[in-house]
Symmetry: C2
């Protein structure tokens, strides 16, 4: 019996992959990765030039839905069947002795798609998961400002949440990372403004990757909804000199 | 003129250092790291066996205080003078052409001590900061459970916060990471119990490192206050099948 190794890729710059993931990816004979049909996909792009010449690539292409909203029962059913299908295919590969490396952007256990395979396979397939630098960590690194200090509370929220809850979370956090922005960005802006945090918010698009863009959220066009972007608000440190050295 | 490179080390396992930090550390001729006086220190231990034979080591030893509480004005003054002193020493090294690699556990911009040097030096010294896998990411990886799904809110809090605020944060978050535990652990336990989260809380001590320990927080002795530990509560996913594929 083989096994599955999920290799966290980090924020996108291949130089920020961990030594262990790097080694596993370079020696893999089976590489699997999610992507939208018709695109190369960010995970596969990150490892370009790293793969073994004999590596067999398994592109796990999300079902295309131009008609179904992402949160409709039909779409969720379609997505669930898609994960079932790939879980079955990977199980067969492993049963035949293959070691399959599944690429995962950021850290696999932090809002990662791999978890949908993990929950389906963990009972009967050996799985190793290698952590990665989360995308948000890469994004606050490129801003070059400390993200959280002292006793700061750091809260990570999704832009898909209802506006009232976004406002509540933004008011009680010191440092903020907001993911799943895209077409939710207008709501995120309104919520940040209502919480008094808009002027301190930064947008990082494609952080650590080619085409990286940094902007103050308050200064970008309201119609501008970049695709691969995170919004960050820095903590100011509840105590200017952090307390006890660890 | 030389420069300073702050190399994020990740959670403690040297195999989880990024490819870039690994390369920078192995080729460094000047290595600086924080530690308590009389100890090797976790950062230095992580890079054991990796340093160049000609590397000059600069141990930045925290001032010892057996009498002063960590949050007293006197202690804060002492710590501030300590950072001033090391900022001046590093500035002199760089002015003389040295490239100094400063080691930093986890990610440097996430509650990292390096930030106290960074704010003192950034105006007149070239500084590059390499991100790392945060300690908490390494800790949830060793638990082998997805940390956050779908629209989960993930909140990072310090065990040093007042109990009422801990309870409030624990009630409004889905996934929780609690740092600076140690002697604050009894308060953290009470707050988790009050928020109805104690039964779901895990303690990870020395995650990814030799001597790693994992336990349900509710099952350890109340008097047990491990030193290098993080408490985690997993999110359950506000939507079982995460929404839009990125």
């Amino acid at each position: 019996m083989g096994k599955i190794i999920c290799a966290g890729l980090g924020p996108g710059d291949p130089d920020l992959i961990s030594v262990r993931s790097d080694r596993v990816i370079r020696s893999a004979r089976h590489i699997a990765f999610f992507r939208k049909a018709g695109r190369q996909g960010q995970a596969r792009r990150t490892v370009d030039g790293m793969l073994h010449p004999a590596a067999i690539e398994h592109a796990m292409e999300y079902p295309i839905t131009t008609e179904l909203p992402f949160d409709s029962p039909d779409y969720i059913r379609l997505l669930s069947a898609f994960y079932d299908d790939w879980a079955a295919r990977l199980r067969t590969l492993v049963a035949n002795g293959a070691e399959v490396v599944v690429l995962c952007e950021g850290d696999p256990f932090l809002y990662g798609s791999f978890m949908h395979l993990y929950t389906r396979l963990r009972a009967d397939v050996p799985i190793e998961v290698i952590p990665g630098i989360p995308g948000m960590v890469g994004c606050w690194n490129v801003l070059g400002e400390p993200m959280s200090w002292g006793d700061d509370v750091l809260t990570v929220v999704m832009g898909t949440l209802p506006e009232a809850e976004l406002v509540a979370q933004m008011k009680t956090a010191d440092a903020l990372a907001i993911m799943k922005t895209g077409r939710n960005l207008p709501r995120v802006r309104r919520a940040l403004a209502a919480a008094g945090r808009l002027e301190d918010a930064w947008l990082v698009e494609r952080g650590t990757m080619p085409g990286q863009r940094i902007a103050r959220l308050s200064e970008i066009e309201a119609s501008d909804c970049p695709y691969f972007a995170i919004v960050l608000v820095h903590g100011q440190g509840r105590r200017p000199v952090a307390g006890a050295p660890e």
